[in-house]
């Protein structure tokens, strides 16, 4: 029998409600409810690296936030490590390591090490293992010289690497990454994604990562999910999905000049 998938999404829908109407009217806003995900279904198995691609607003970040337990779906089911993301929230979050878009969750006045030790306590990483895990991750992500610097002195790319360390520190079964290599220089991005994704897959973690970098997607993913307008437009290997992806990206309307 095949083991249960680490990420299981069935007919998932998410609609962001329109703002409370009297308040929206006072502020002169005419926003309608916005449907971000429309009946999405897929699975990710242990050891599998799956890429999420699609134009801006396709629903990638919404999907990753739902799976991280930080956003409620409007309908459908999502399970992470066999736990329902709505009904078993704290337990589900324990199994997830997330580095989401625009993650600023590091205290600037603390060193990277102090920040990471704090999150290690939050995720109940055994005290005796924290130093060893930090050392191991710092070597993999090339952050050894950053650990004892205050976060406010780090560059954007360096902070992104510390955020990645935070996501990996408790050895999650599911890793959710939203454009994490965006702020790294090309060489660092290549080294980091190779080490990070191959290490995670080697220890049996399921990885779901969103990216706009198709070369990165081709290099590291086992499978690709192409999202368009909140729907799953295509799925398969990079080569299988590529024609559909090209037509989706080509069809994105440009702002009128």
């Amino acid at each position: 029998m095949r083991p249960a998938p680490e990420v299981e999404v069935i007919a998932l829908e998410k609609t962001y409600p329109r703002p409370f109407w009297p308040w929206a009217r006072v502020r002169g806003r005419k926003e309608a409810a916005r449907q971000a995900l429309r009946g999405l279904s897929f699975e990710v198995r242990a050891g599998e690296v799956v890429a999420l691609i699609g134009p801006n607003g396709a629903g990638k970040s919404t999907l990753l936030r739902i799976l991280s337990g930080l956003l409620l779906p409007s309908a459908g089911t999502a399970r992470v490590a066999s736990r329902d993301v709505v009904r078993e929230r704290p337990g589900c979050r324990r199994e997830v390591g997330a580095a989401l878009a625009d993650d600023r969750g590091l205290s600037p006045r603390l060193t990277a090490r102090q920040n990471l030790e704090f999150f290690a306590a939050l995720y109940a990483v055994p005290r005796s293992e924290v130093d060893a895990r930090l050392h191991e991750l710092a070597r993999a992500l090339e952050t050894r010289r950053l650990l004892d610097r205050e976060v406010r002195t780090l560059s954007t790319g360096e902070k992104a690497r510390v955020v990645l360390m935070r996501a990996l520190l408790h050895r999650p079964r599911v890793l959710l990454l939203d454009e994490v290599t965006r702020s790294l220089d090309p060489g660092a991005a290549r080294r980091v994604r190779t080490r990070l994704l191959s290490d995670a897959a080697a220890r049996g973690a399921a990885v779901l990562f969103a990216s706009h970098d198709l070369a990165e997607v081709e290099a590291v993913s086992h499978r690709v999910l192409l999202l368009d307008g909140g729907r799953l437009a295509a799925t398969g290997s990079f080569a299988e999905v590529r024609p559909a992806a090209e037509s989706v990206f080509a069809a994105v309307p440009k702002e009128e000049e």
Partner: protein, 265 residues
């Protein structure tokens, strides 16, 4: 315990990184004491205070100010911690941890609570040692009253945090409670000077009971037997407010997760 220490250590490190802020807090406390010392000398004998608590106006106001500062800090501390985390972007990773919202927000308020306790006890100590306030303290009764008052006000602080989680800025609940407490709970004057109707309304404010209990324990040396009714009232507030705070936080979390506004500042 490990989590509590982790939050306290983190927030203490952040607080001590801003050295000027700590200096201003201490000088602010001394400024307030000096102000009230001379105000008390201007007021002279206050019969309403002398008759009720058997002490001078400065000692009466000192306990009132220390208590009000503590209660206000407790009431604002949780919401302030949530607001600060919204601004620096750490709220989402904190609420992404495998803990309940009540658990996380309570831990986020640990440092503001500890800080407020230290500041209020410091205010009392400075007032007694430097300005000659006459305290006749019953230590056990004082600690029990202080703990029950802090518990009740922590629940109010958590309710305020639920507002901040949803509305980000502007918390009408805390503003109203703070204003009502200063007006009717007897921070700067005994509730006996209020008209009977307002005095009756003041009994519905936890600050009224906290101020009364702490003054009795600190100024008259009242023991457990005399303070039992006050403790019962504070305990009743805790029993009502804590479940309410848990429900409010849970509802606020659900709201921001439905609307997708959790990462917004």
């Amino acid at each position: 315990m490990r989590l509590l220490l982790a939050f306290l250590r983190r927030d203490l490190r952040i607080a001590t990184a801003y050295r000027l802020n700590a200096l201003l807090l201490v000088s602010g406390g001394l400024f307030t004491l000096t102000l009230f010392y001379f105000l008390a000398r201007t007021v002279g004998e206050a019969p309403a205070v002398r008759g009720r608590y058997g002490t001078d106006y400065f000692s009466f106001a000192l306990v009132g100010l220390a208590t009000a500062a503590l209660l206000r800090a407790l009431q604002l501390g949780f919401g302030g911690a949530v607001r600060s985390a919204q601004n620096d972007g750490s709220l989402e990773p904190l609420l992404g941890a495998p803990l309940s919202t009540l658990h996380v927000v309570t831990l986020m308020g640990a440092w503001p609570v500890a800080n407020a306790l230290l500041r209020s006890l410091g205010l009392l100590a400075f007032g007694a040692l430097l300005f000659g306030a006459r305290l006749h303290l019953h230590p056990i009764a004082f600690v029990v009253t202080l703990s029950l008052s802090a518990l009740a006000f922590c629940a109010l602080g958590l309710l305020s945090a639920a507002f901040v989680l949803v509305f980000k800025r502007g918390d009408p609940f805390t503003y109203a409670l703070d204003a009502l407490s200063y007006l009717f709970a007897g921070v700067l004057y005994p509730t006996e000077v209020l008209p009977p109707l307002l005095r009756a309304l003041a009994r519905f404010l936890p600050a009224t009971h906290a101020l009364h209990g702490l003054r009795e324990a600190a100024l008259r040396g009242a023991g457990p037997a005399q303070l039992l009714p006050t403790w019962t009232a504070l305990l009743a507030f805790c029993l009502i407010l804590w479940p309410l705070a848990a429900l409010a936080l849970s509802a606020a979390r659900r709201h921001v997760e439905q609307a997708g506004t959790l990462p917004h500042s």
